[in-house]
C-alpha cells in the first residue's frame, strides 16, 4: 500500500466589501494582469491550485492545497505585485475560510448573495473570467476547475429558481423599466441621453443591454458626449439639438449637473407636436431637475424623476432581500452536493479506477498467455467477450461501492478492506494533478 499525503483542502484568503471599506479595497484591487500574476505566484508559494477573483468589491484567492497556505508569504507576494510595503496592522481586513466554508462562500459570491448590489449578475462573468485567467496562468487544476464550474452552476440555479436578480438594480435599469411600461418593446425604442457623467454612463450601459434601437448622447460639453458615445457605439449630437432630438425619441434620460432647469413645457411643446402623439418617457435623474414639473402636463409625456427611480430601486431591493433564504438554501444544497462529489472522487474514484485498471491488466495478461491456442480470426472476438464478461462481473461491486459512498455508509475501514482484498494501490490526492506541474 502506498503512503498517502496529507489531504488537500479548499482555502480562501482575501478582502471584500464585507471586511474592508473602499479605500482599503482599493489598495488591494487587481487588474487582469496583476490577478494572473498573483495566481501564478500563489501557485508557486503554496504548491496547490489557485484562482484569484478580483472585482471592484473583492480581491479573493481560492486555494486547493495540502495544509493551510502561508498567509504571510501570500501577503508579501501581493504587496510586491501592488508595489507596496507589507502592513502588519492591515492583516485584520483579510478574511479566511477553509473547507466547506470556502465552497459555500464561493457559491454565495457566484449567486450574487455576497455582492454589494444584492443579486447583481456581473459577478457570474467575473467568476468565469477569474477561472479562465488562472487556467491561462497555469495555476488552476482539475479540482479548482470543478469547484468554479460548480459555483457557476449554483449561481445560475440561484438566478433561475429565485428572484434574487430580478427587478431594478440601478438608475439605468429603472429608466429601462419605466420606458418599458409605456412603449413595451425596447428594441423599437430610440433613446436620448442628456448628460455624460457617471450616471449617464451607467444608463447608457443599461439601455444598450436592453437592446434599444438607437442611442443618442448629448452633453453641455460636446467632447464628453462624444467620448461617451464612442464607448457605447452611440451617436453624439450637439446640445443645441437636444429638443429636436427629443421629438424623434421615445425615451429621454437626463442627468446633467446643470445648476438650473433646462427644459419646460413651453420650450418643448413646439418640438413634441411633431411626434404625432407617440408617447415620450422622460426620466430626469438630475439634481436640480433638468425638466420643469409642468413638462408632465404635455399629454404624451410621461415624466419621472429621481424619487420615482429611487422608489423603484428600493422596492426591488426589498423584494430581492426576501429571496435571500431561498437562495441560501440552494447554495447550501449545492455546496453539500459538491463536497459529497469531491469526497467521492477523492476516496472512491482512485479505488474504482485502480480496480478497473487491474481487471483490464488481468484480462490482457490471460489473453496474451492463451493467444497461441486461439485461431487468429477468433482472437478479437474472444478478447471482446472476455472484456464484456469482466466488466459485467465488476459492474455490481463497483456500483455497490458508489451507492454506499453516496449514502454515506462507506467507512474508511471498509474502503481500506476493499483495497486490501484486491491489492489496490492508489496515488492518493495530489493537488497538483492536471495543472501541468
Amino acid at each position: 500500500m502506498a503512503t498517502r499525503a496529507a489531504p488537500a483542502e479548499f482555502f480562501l484568503w482575501g478582502v471584500s466589501h464585507r471586511t474592508a471599506p473602499l479605500p482599503v479595497r482599493e489598495l488591494w484591487a487587481l487588474d487582469h494582469g496583476e490577478a494572473a500574476r498573483a495566481a501564478a505566484e500563489f501557485h508557486a508559494i503554496t504548491g496547490g491550485q489557485v484562482v484569484v477573483l478580483a472585482t471592484c468589491n473583492r480581491t479573493e484567492s481560492y486555494f486547493y492545497c495540502a495544509g493551510e497556505p502561508p498567509l504571510a508569504a501570500l501577503e508579501a507576494a501581493l504587496a510586491a505585485i501592488k508595489g507596496r510595503a507589507v502592513d502588519p496592522h492591515g492583516r485584520a481586513v483579510f478574511h479566511t475560510h477553509a473547507g466547506l466554508e470556502t465552497v459555500q462562500h464561493l457559491f454565495e459570491v457566484a449567486g450574487g448573495l455576497d455582492s454589494q448590489i444584492l443579486g447583481e449578475t456581473e459577478i457570474q462573468g467575473q467568476v468565469r473570467d477569474a477561472l479562465k485567467l488562472a487556467r491561462e496562468a497555469g495555476a488552476c487544476g482539475a479540482d479548482m476547475g470543478r469547484l468554479f464550474d460548480h459555483a457557476l452552476r449554483a449561481g445560475k440555479r440561484v438566478r433561475s429558481e429565485t428572484r434574487l436578480s430580478e427587478g431594478v438594480l440601478s438608475a439605468g435599469q429603472a429608466g429601462v423599466l419605466l420606458a418599458g411600461r409605456v412603449v413595451g418593446d425596447l428594441r423599437r425604442v430610440e433613446a436620448l441621453l442628456i448628460g455624460s457623467g457617471e450616471i449617464g454612463a451607467l444608463t447608457a450601459r443599461a439601455l444598450m443591454a436592453a437592446g434599444v434601437r438607437r442611442l443618442r448622447v448629448t452633453s453641455r460639453t460636446e467632447e464628453h458626449a462624444r467620448a461617451l458615445a464612442r464607448r457605447f457605439d452611440a451617436e453624439a449630437i450637439p446640445f443645441q439639438e437636444a429638443q429636436a432630438a427629443m421629438a424623434a425619441s421615445d425615451l429621454v434620460v437626463s442627468s446633467t449637473s446643470a445648476p438650473a432647469g433646462l427644459f419646460d413645457k413651453a420650450s418643448l411643446a413646439p418640438f413634441l407636436r411633431r411626434r404625432a402623439h407617440r408617447p415620450l418617457v422622460v426620466i430626469d435623474l438630475a439634481v436640480p431637475r433638468d425638466f420643469a414639473p409642468d413638462t408632465a402636463e404635455l399629454e404624451c409625456v410621461f415624466l419621472h424623476d429621481l424619487d420615482d427611480v429611487e422608489a423603484l430601486v428600493a422596492q426591488s431591493q426589498t423584494a430581492r432581500e426576501a429571496e435571500i433564504p431561498r437562495a441560501r438554501l440552494i447554495v447550501e444544497e449545492e455546496a453539500r452536493k459538491f463536497a459529497a462529489m469531491h469526497a467521492f472522487r477523492l476516496e472512491v474514484e482512485p479505488v474504482v479506477r485502480a480496480f478497473v485498471e487491474a481487471a483490464d491488466a488481468w484480462q490482457r495478461e490471460e489473453l496474451a498467455r492463451r493467444a497461441d491456442e486461439l485461431p487468429p480470426e477468433a482472437r478479437d472476438k474472444v478478447a471482446a467477450l472476455v472484456r464484456r464478461l469482466v466488466h459485467k462481473v465488476l459492474f455490481t461491486p463497483l456500483n455497490r461501492l458508489k451507492t454506499l459512498r453516496n449514502r454515506g455508509d462507506l467507512t474508511p475501514e471498509a474502503l481500506a478492506l476493499v483495497r486490501e482484498i484486491f491489492e489496490i494501490e492508489t496515488d492518493g490526492d495530489d493537488p497538483n494533478r492536471h495543472t501541468g506541474q
Binding site: 419605466l178 411600461r181 413595451g184 402623439h277 399629454e299 404624451c300 419621472h304 422608489a311
Partner: protein, 270 residues
C-alpha cells in the same frame, strides 16, 4: 337536451367565476408559468363549455338561441370570452382578461339567473345562415365591447403612470402601447365579424325579399367603429384620446345593439 342546456346554463356563472378568480390571481401576484398556462387552458375550456351550452339550447329549442335580451346577453358573454381568448393569444398578455372576463361574468350571471324557455321553435330561425348572421353580429358588438373594456384599462394605466403611482397594478398590466394594441385588435375583430354579419343579412334580405331595416343600426355601429379605427390609423390619435373615443363609441354601440334587437324582434313579430 333541455335538461342538459338548463344544467350547463346553471353551471356557467360558477365556471366564469372560477376562471375570473384565476385571472385575478394573475393580476394579484407573481405567478408561475404553469399557473398562467392553467388560466389560459381554463379560459379555453370555459369558451368550449359555453359553446356547448348554447349548442344544447339551440338543439333543445330547435332554433338559433338568440331571441330576447337574455339569450343575447349570454351570447355576448360567450363572444367576449372568445375575443379575449384570441387577443390574449395574439399579444401574449393575460392580465387584462380580468376586465373582459369580469364583464362576461356579469352578463352570464344575469342571463343564467333569468332566462327561460318561453320562446319555442321557430322555422324562420332554423337555417344555418341565420345562426351565422346572428352569431357574427353579436360577435361584432362583443368585439367593440371588449375593445372598449381594454380602452378603459388603458385609461386607468395611463392615469397611474402619468400621476407616477407605480404600484402593483402598474407592474402586472401590459405596457401602455400593448394595451392600446389589444384594444385595436378587439375592435378590428369586432368590425370584421360585424361586416360578415351585415353581408350575410343583406344577402338573405335580398334573396328572400325581406326588409333590411334591422341592419341599419348595425350599419351605424359598423360606421362608428370603422371611422374610429380609420382615423386612429390615418390621423394618429394619442393613445389616451383613442381609448376615450373607443369607450364612448362602445356606449353608443350598446344603445344601438338594444335598438337592433328591438328591430329584429319587431321584424320577426316576437
Amino acid at each position: 337536451m333541455e335538461q342538459a342546456a338548463r344544467l350547463l346554463a346553471g353551471f356557467l356563472p360558477a365556471a366564469y367565476a372560477i376562471v375570473w378568480c384565476l385571472y385575478a390571481g394573475l393580476l394579484a401576484g407573481d405567478c408561475s408559468a404553469a399557473f398562467k398556462k392553467t388560466a389560459f387552458r381554463a379560459l379555453a375550456a370555459l369558451a368550449a363549455l359555453h359553446f356547448l351550452a348554447l349548442g344544447c339550447r339551440a338543439v333543445a329549442l330547435d332554433r338559433c338561441p338568440l331571441i330576447g335580451g337574455l339569450e343575447l346577453v349570454s351570447f355576448l358573454a360567450f363572444a367576449i370570452t372568445v375575443i379575449h381568448l384570441i387577443v390574449e393569444r395574439l399579444t401574449g398578455y393575460q392580465t387584462p382578461g380580468i376586465a373582459a372576463l369580469g364583464l362576461a361574468l356579469v352578463l352570464q350571471t344575469i342571463a343564467s339567473s333569468f332566462w327561460g324557455y318561453e320562446h319555442g321553435a321557430d322555422q324562420r330561425l332554423r337555417p344555418w345562415a341565420v345562426h351565422l348572421h346572428a352569431g357574427l353580429g353579436i360577435g361584432g358588438h362583443a368585439g367593440f365591447l371588449t375593445g372598449a373594456t381594454y380602452a378603459l384599462v388603458y385609461l386607468t394605466l395611463y392615469r397611474q403612470i402619468k400621476t407616477r403611482r407605480l404600484g402593483r397594478l402598474w407592474e402586472r398590466l401590459p405596457p401602455l402601447e400593448t394595451m392600446q394594441r389589444m384594444s385595436v385588435w378587439a375592435l378590428r375583430l369586432g368590425l370584421c365579424s360585424l361586416t360578415a354579419a351585415i353581408a350575410i343579412g343583406l344577402a338573405r334580405a335580398w334573396r328572400d325579399g325581406l326588409n333590411p331595416q334591422p341592419l341599419w343600426t348595425s350599419g351605424v355601429s359598423w360606421l362608428l367603429f370603422g371611422a374610429l379605427l380609420g382615423i386612429g390609423r390615418r390621423l394618429p390619435l394619442s393613445g389616451m384620446r383613442f381609448a376615450a373615443a373607443a369607450a364612448c363609441a362602445a356606449l353608443v354601440d350598446l344603445v344601438l345593439l338594444v335598438f337592433t334587437e328591438y328591430l329584429h324582434g319587431r321584424h320577426l313579430g316576437l
